[in-house]
């Protein structure tokens, strides 16, 4: 007879949206801090965190806006509280843009993260962007164009592992009732 579900669908979904974004930030943070897998690779002592994977997953599942915020705030916050305070501004820019770009491509043309090949493309395209921003940022801190080159291999490994993990997890998550 009257309106259907809720009195306040507008505020309702806005609040949920806000909380979901907060959770995405927390997830990126936790994955960066807590989830490590050790690989037999010299760079970074072989310890690879899953923050990048988490960022990819979130951008693929939720699109550019949440990708941007989760990347910028989640990883920026991590730098801020774990001794890399000086890197926080670089991270905020690099990870924010990376999350945005992944989301934008994965969600382009109404795909909404449903196309695996676009998801892979999105992640792959974002890698050079992220690496470049860190390179430039660190070049400013160190006043050198040589030193920051040292962090490129580590960043590449990080992103590659992230990609390998994110794609199957995103597919599996898409099948849960939350995304139906």
């Amino acid at each position: 007879m009257q309106k259907t579900t809720s009195y306040s669908p507008a505020t309702n979904s806005r609040t949920l949206d806000l909380v979901l974004t907060s959770m995405a930030i927390a997830l990126v943070f936790v994955a960066t801090l807590l989830l490590n897998i050790r690989l037999p690779i010299a760079a970074n002592g072989g310890l690879v965190h899953l923050g990048t994977a988490m960022l990819f997953i979130i951008a693929i599942l939720f699109g550019p806006k949440k990708g941007l915020i989760a990347g910028a705030v989640g990883m920026g916050l991590f730098d801020l509280v774990s001794g890399w305070t000086l890197w926080a501004p670089i991270t905020i820019v690099a990870r924010g843009l990376q999350g945005y770009l992944v989301g934008k491509i994965a969600w382009s043309g109404g795909r909404n993260g449903g196309s695996t090949s676009f998801n892979i493309l999105a992640a792959v395209v974002s890698i050079p962007l992220m690496v470049a921003i860190y390179y430039v940022g660190e070049a400013i801190i160190f006043s050198s164009w040589i030193i920051p080159a040292a962090s490129i291999p580590g960043n590449l490994v990080q992103n590659t592992v992230g990609l390998i993990i994110a794609i199957p997890v995103a597919i599996a998550l898409k099948k849960t009732p939350f995304f139906k």
Binding site: M1, Q2, K3, T5, S6, Y7, S8
Partner: protein, 282 residues
């Protein structure tokens, strides 16, 4: 003196209306609650209890029927007014804590309602005092026990000075001690302030404390009455997947074992009294 604080009139709600196969979560439900009452809402998993709670404060809206609260018909315009007079506490103590510390969390509803700062400070203190958590002002949620978190959640609801408090299985995830703390807190609050309480629960001992019990079954109101009245229909409750309070279960077991008890006992003491008359052979 007693006035009606909340009422449902022939309320029906279905989650997925498009899908014909989905049955209504709540069907043709009518009841009303007096100011100052303590109502227990019981029923098996999925019987519609949480849906009712959500209908009460406009998180959901009935497809047919009317919900009124605080003398107002639930509608777009009255929604926020009604909400400011209804406090609600949910099952999982972790998932309703918004603030970074105890005091921030209690202040959250006040901030939303634009209460001025000086007043907030007073009300936060007062609410925390009511649940005996004033010593924890600056504690962070993950350093509190489950029972303490739920008491903070109650304080968060009380800060707005609501007239009605809804507890949706607020004790079901707690250990026995936490559960006791919360129930005790509610009891004292009611004595002190005459708050109206609706508690949704699977714990029949808890329900037995209420003034009135509503029993839900598959979206319908199955039974309604004082605890005594409701528990007297013993077998009906068990077939609904519910249970009886301990003293009553014992009464039945004793009767089966050949003790011809006459009364139906809600408390252990009553039961022991009758047993004693039996034993002493009077």
């Amino acid at each position: 003196m007693n006035s009606i604080i909340l009422s449902f009139e022939n309320v029906t709600f279905t989650y997925a209306q498009e899908d014909e196969s989905v049955k209504p979560a709540v069907q043709d439900l009518t009841f009303s609650i007096q100011d100052g009452e303590w109502i227990a809402l019981v029923g098996h998993n999925g019987s519609g209890k949480s849906t009712i709670a959500k209908l009460m404060n406009g998180l959901l809206f009935p497809q047919t029927g009317k919900v009124s609260a605080m003398g107002k018909l639930m509608a777009e315009e009255s929604l926020w007014d009604i909400r400011s007079e209804i406090g609600m506490v949910f099952q999982n103590p972790d998932n309703q804590f918004v603030g970074a510390t105890v005091q921030d969390d209690v202040a959250f509803a006040l901030e939303n309602n634009g209460v001025p700062h000086e007043e907030m400070v007073v009300r936060v203190k007062e609410a925390l005092h009511q649940v005996k958590m004033e010593a924890y002002l600056d504690h962070e949620p993950h350093h509190l026990s489950g029972g303490q978190k739920q008491r903070v959640a109650i304080a968060g609801a009380l800060a707005l000075r609501p007239r009605l408090l809804i507890l949706d299985e607020a004790t079901s995830m707690l250990d026995p001690q936490g559960r006791m703390e919360v129930i005790e807190t509610i009891r004292e609050l009611r004595e002190a302030t005459g708050l109206t309480v609706i508690s949704i629960t699977h714990d029949l001992e808890e329900a037995a404390l209420a003034d009135r019990i509503l029993v839900m079954n598959a979206g319908h109101k199955q039974l309604e009455g004082t605890p005594k009245e409701v528990f007297l229909s013993g077998n009906e409750l068990t077939t609904l997947g519910l249970d009886l309070p301990f003293a009553m279960r014992m009464t039945h077991l004793l009767q089966e074992a050949g003790v011809a008890l006459q009364g139906e006992h809600m408390t252990e003491d009553e039961l022991v009294d009758e047993l004693w008359t039996f034993y002493s052979g009077k």
